[in-house]
């Protein structure tokens, strides 16, 4: 199944199970029960979008719509809810 986001929206696959690794690891401080990072899977056609498939991104905690795609948790976000690219 393929999901094509519309406009300035971005489909992100949530990460899981790596929030606690030691050494240089990103841990959302105020919401450890919810990952705030993921990997971009698909983007809308809007030219304002400055991330691409494969980018690891950090997003606003309460942003977007949660969906499951092929059993995996994903999030449909507006680009403006993506805070940073993690490299």
């Amino acid at each position: 199944m393929k999901i094509k986001p519309l406009g300035d929206r971005v489909l992100v696959k949530l990460e899981s199970g790596e929030e606690k690794t030691a050494g240089g690891i990103f841990i959302p401080q105020t919401a450890q029960e919810k990952t705030q990072t993921g990997v971009v899977v698909e983007i809308g056609d809007d030219e304002t979008i400055k991330v691409k498939a494969g980018d690891k991104v950090m997003y606003d905690k309460y942003a977007g719509t949660q969906i499951k795609v092929d059993g995996e948790e994903h999030l449909l976000l507006r680009f403006s809810d993506i805070l940073a690219v993690i490299g």
Copy 2:
């Protein structure tokens, strides 16, 4: 009966009864009692609309106005409330 949406509005026929199929199936995570997908039936004249009749779409959970057309549940949405096209 024909319903012609005005402006940037889109008429979507709700899907039912397929939220639980196994294998590659979309299930809205936070609202399993309400489908969040449907098929575009009719669109308004606004050029900003980027979906067409027949597209299977995913939309914001609380968006739109529910109506029944010929006994079937439909939704009148603004295009901006449609998140993605499912292909």
Copy 3:
């Protein structure tokens, strides 16, 4: 008595008593006690208005100002509160 709506406003005469007819009939799902359809009687001068007198229209449930004209229930709506033309 004649009522001339100002700007982008539209005067709509409410329908009554036909919400339950069988076969191809429109029934607002979440507000069966209130009709959400009516017939356009008079429109303002605003060029953004895309309906005309005689059109049967569907409108937002909480929109507009209710008035009685010659004993009949009417609604003064903004054009943007009209969702669709029913044909």
Copy 4:
């Protein structure tokens, strides 16, 4: 005493005591204790104002500032709060 409304404001003299006349008479349905009609007395200089002194108008129920001028109830409204001209 003369009151000159500023900008897009309009001074309206409220009507009283005729809400219940029979035959072709306007009665605000949801607020029978408060008239929603009046006659334009004076207008501001704003070119967007499309009513003139003498027009009988209908306005939004909660709009404007009530004042008494020479013992008579008036309302200072923005033009955008005037819904329709009654003719």
Copy 5:
């Protein structure tokens, strides 16, 4: 002490003690304990301001910041909160 309002602001000296004079007198209906009229003392540099020092004005009941200047009650208002000039 001189107060020079900035931008679109206007300094108004409140009136007192004349709300109940008979004959052609203005009385704010819903707030008789608070005068809603005053005299313009000083205006900001904004060209949108259409009142001048000496004008008797009527203003929105909850608008502005109350200050005392040389023992007298004044109000610093935005011009848009001034409803009308009383002449």
Copy 6:
């Protein structure tokens, strides 16, 4: 320590202890426990700012962020929260 406000912000040093002087003195009527005047110390680069270092100003009661600089109370305000220059 030097603080350089960004954009349309203005650093104001609060006044203290002079709210009750007799004769031509400014006293904020509704908030006597909090001074509403101060002296501009530093301004941002925004051209919309129409005050300069040394100006005595009056500002909105709830505006800005309180900070201490070298033990003295200051306020970081947006220019639009400054109501008037006192001269």
Copy 7:
């Protein structure tokens, strides 16, 4: 790990343990338990950003998203939430 803020966002490393030094020291008055200063680490590509890596900045108390990078507290802020540069 490198974090690249998007758009008008700025990554700031929080300061700690120096709020109480004597002599010319900045202490946020209303929130002593939370530092309101930090050092810019990385900025987004937006041209409106007027701070650079290394700048010591002061920011709005409730702004931004707290994250830990390599065990250190950081904040992802919009540039408009940065009040001043401290020099």
